[in-house]
Symmetry: C2
Amino acid sequence: MSIFGIQFQLGGYQMVTLYEHVFNWEPYLQFGKRQFFKRKQTIYSQGTPGDGFYFLHKGLVRIVSVNATGKERILNIVIPNQLMGVQSLDQKEHFTTAIAVQDSIVYHFSNRKFKKLLQERPEIVRVFSRTVIHKMKILLDRINLDTLTSEQKIALLLHNICYEFQNFEVPLNQQDIASCTGLTRISVYKVLKQWKEKGIIDIINKKYYIKKPDFFRNLVN
Amino acid sequence: MSIFGIQFQLGGYQMVTLYEHVFNWEPYLQFGKRQFFKRKQTIYSQGTPGDGFYFLHKGLVRIVSVNATGKERILNIVIPNQLMGVQSLDQKEHFTTAIAVQDSIVYHFSNRKFKKLLQERPEIVRVFSRTVIHKMKILLDRINLDTLTSEQKIALLLHNICYEFQNFEVPLNQQDIASCTGLTRISVYKVLKQWKEKGIIDIINKKYYIKKPDFFRNLVN
DNA sequence: AAAATTACGTTAAATAGGTTACAGTTACGC
DNA sequence: GCGTAACTGTAACCTATTTAACGTAATTTT
């Protein structure tokens, strides 16, 4: 399953960003500090002071946010060649947590280093703003999500994923879908069961496969 | 009711930004193009291509977003000295709509002009990224809002407003509160009625006044 | 000043989704 | 290789919120 050439973002309904749009960071990586993170390891966590931002070189990272009542939401999943933790460029604390889903390699750009980079390569501003704006869009899509019914929410999510990956295998379990949509696992289960009965999805060995992607498109739009 | 000296943002629970944090744009205004908008006039609308961004000099602007099913949400209310429409710096289309709540004066910075500004005053990058990151935080707060009960949602909203304005008069009607929280007007009405009976708020001539702000603080935190 | 639109108050009925509970399966760490 | 932890399937119940409906008050438009 190749996901290269495509940016993958969970939870928004217009998350497609072709690779070509993504600025090539390779020449700038020398300005950052290479770091390794093992699966399940935390890269940065909500509430702690941050310094600069991170570039994901290899691996997969899940961005989550915990609200005032302690509930956790998956905000998006970062794939290679994307930035994360941009929030703390502002010198403030992180308002999300990043956890490695797979062993990952990241480059950390501290404020100092980024300043230097800005001076030497001012064109970097464009890539940077582009990334941040894209992230805003993802957040906004997420907000709009909550006026939908639970069936629509899940449909939207799965539709995006199958679209992004150009693949009909869903890389999420019930819990993940619940966390992405803000529903309970039971509700997710109920919808999934109903869809299975209608032949819209297949469930093989606890993995979900989308059979009728058009059904999702109709539900959403 | 003086709101000067304070930035006002609807819908997030940590939206306080003192005026002093806001970069003074006065010296840069000459780079933008001054425009006037009458009450209810649209400054930019979702789906249309944008060019650059706007700075609100005088007035009040409401930012709304319409989702795939046609439902409208108020995202925030922009007060003077704030940026809006930053999304389209990217040359893409606007993903929100901005409507003047009062007669307003804005300065429009086209991409070309902003580029020029960046060259002549590179320090502007900081202000700019700060604003965008702040907006991201507001969006994120909004996402976390939807794990709360309807009473908590409204409490949070009113708490923020009364805190930001340092005033206990709520500048929103039932419909607005519904649109901000994603609830129906009926649900809003029910909560408000209940609060009125408990003496937490006053309703005079269809305007809401917060009597016991501490009640909100307890509900939320 | 009349007409039209928009906002509010209230109730009753319908329902979507959350909660709880528990048993069966699979995966993972030691 | 075994035990614990994490994930799934399912049912019964419950309640918070939405939908629908309608009269009244207020505001805006013409």
